[in-house]
């Protein structure tokens, strides 16, 4: 490629990037503006980044919902992984009748859109007196992610050479010890990949949270959606809230990145 072609490609790439990142850039800038600056013509391009009133107002009124989000997300991720990993290990390593059927059956539950279960879930939790509780959201998020988490974990456990599992068993390990001391450390990248996906799903989920919560267990995405009303849209609060909303997945993904990359490319080439 010649130099001028190269330059052209860079300019094109920058332009395309700008198109895709423009809403995010606008949002980040709006988060540091007051309402009149957001609507000002000509626009205020660079805001005063020391203006934090939007964040202060947002968090002072909604910090408990942010905390709900954190608890629900971490809880759902932990519960989901706690069930998915042993299930996946068992499905890969135990030989029993109907193993393949069970694995397919687990995946089939993924074929239903979550919203289809919203009304039945509402009725179940209503009867159980669990509506608007953090526990119900944790159960629902963990449950909906379980098929995906089991299937992806299965592929990582399958990638562990059979002889290593057998060696552990010959060395005196019970199935539980084999799982804990050998399989889990070797499936590290898989655990990182799966938990990242579950984390992001649970953190960003809005629809079921809208259905199943009203006050106590409301999560942060529900709060964000409430800033857009029929009469008014609070752009400055939406912007500030969105920045807070997108930060944890970015941090979590960056922390897990090394493992996720090796996880997603697993089996791409023969060792």
């Amino acid at each position: 490629m010649t130099k001028s072609n190269n330059r052209l490609a860079v300019i094109a790439a920058l332009f395309i990037t700008l198109i895709f990142t423009a809403p995010i850039i606008w949002m980040v800038l709006a988060a540091f503006k007051n309402i009149s600056d957001i609507y000002a013509i000509p626009p205020v391009w660079i805001p005063d980044f020391s203006y934090l009133d939007n964040f202060v107002l947002l968090l002072s009124e909604n910090w408990q919902y942010l905390l709900n989000s954190v608890i629900v997300t971490l809880g759902a991720t932990a519960v989901c992984m706690a069930f998915a990993l042993p299930a996946a290990f068992g499905l890969v390593n135990y030989r029993f009748k109907g193993r393949n059927f069970l694995a397919d059956w687990i995946l089939s539950t993924r074929m239903m859109p979550p919203i289809a279960a919203a009304v039945p879930l509402f009725m179940v939790f209503n009867t159980a007196g669990m509506l608007d509780t953090i526990g119900s959201l944790i159960i629902v998020y963990a449950g909906f992610n379980l098929p995906f988490a089991i299937w992806v974990s299965m592929s990582f456990f399958r990638n562990i050479p059979k002889e290593i599992i057998e060696a552990a068993r010959i060395e005196g390990c019970t199935w539980g010890q084999t799982f804990r001391t050998v399989a889990l450390p070797l499936a590290k990248s898989g655990i990182a990949t799966v938990s990242t996906f579950v984390f992001i799903f649970a953190w960003n989920e809005l629809l079921l949270a809208l259905f199943l919560t009203s006050r106590e267990a409301k999560t942060f995405p529900v709060v964000i959606s409430s800033f857009s009303t029929v009469t008014k849209t609070y752009w400055e609060l939406i912007s500030a809230a969105t920045i807070i909303q997108i930060l944890p997945p970015i941090i979590f993904t960056l922390l897990m990145q090394k493992h996720i990359v090796s996880g997603l490319t697993m089996g791409a080439v023969k060792n």
């Binding site: 002889e163 060696a167 552990a168 068993r169 010959i170 060395e171 390990c173 010890q177 450390p185 070797l186």
Partner: protein, 371 residues
Amino acid sequence: MGGIVLENVCKSFGEVSIIKDINLEIQDGEFVVFVGPSGCGKSTLLRMITGLEEVSSGRVFIKGQDMTDEKPSSRSLAMVFQSYALFPHISVRDNISFGLRISKAPKELIEEKVSYAAKTLGLEKLLDRKPRELSGGQQQRVAIGRAIVRDPTAFMFDEPLSNLDAALRVQMRVELIRLHDSLKTTMVYVTHDQVEAMTMANRIVVLQAGRIEQFDTPVELYDRPVNKFVAGFIGSPKMNFVSAQPAADNQIRLVDGTLISVPGIAHEDMTSNMTVGIRPEHLEYSHEQGDWCGTIVVEEQLGSDAFLIVEIPGVGSVTVRAVGERNYHGGETIYLTLPRHRCHVFDNHDNRISPNLSTQCTGTVTALHSA
């Protein structure tokens, strides 16, 4: 006693029968090698002893105890895999001590055993490395180290040297023989390499299609193969086989019409459609005279040996192993003689009918019978 007994052991996967009614008694301290062609069930049989593979029927006794339904972890066996199966996420030291740590052995004992194993196997400087930082030979030593620290009832080896290069394989072979001599623990070793089998084993189990063809010492297998399969499987290059029919005066008529008289075989032992086998190293050759006259089609010169592939009219292709021979080349005429006492005769069901001859045998009928 650390002996292993298999009683009427069978294994099938669905309709396919892999191991067919095997009875086997391995003595305490014995080095037994399972050998056979690919798919003969040798690894499956080993895995059935370890418990990694369930038996479909029959019993497995280890140290006199019925272990058929016991988990692998309860059988007190150690196994070395072809792929080494080291735990990649922990150091060599932790790999070696893995089983001891699982059984919650005291720290001092673990340290003592690990340092003994490391010293025995020359791994002292590698203890803090991860398995991926080791060569194939070193990894295999770690796998052996992991096996020996546990003082198991018996060692199971599943083609442990197959992934090593030729030189390292020879070295490790010697090390394993030494290890067996010093530990005096029962070892069961699976291989498809008959050189490994012959050099290491006290006794060899030759398997074919899930059945034991012969269970004997290496020399017995070589000298007195019970059937044509064992005769062809043991020995390299493999034994030459020639079709034959019974003839008058206790003689055997080979396919080309040559009449030979194999010592110790009476006419009533013979059947129609017999096979006469002769090992390539036992064929005598000359430029002047012999039973057969043929043309050397290929000369494979190894330096120490020359393998001559000879085409004989009416017989077909015959291999001759000529030790240190330099004077026979492709395209030349060669005369071959079958030393009668070296011939193996098999009936129409491929079972041996020739008498028990040893390599030291001088070939006289009287000497054979008295032996």
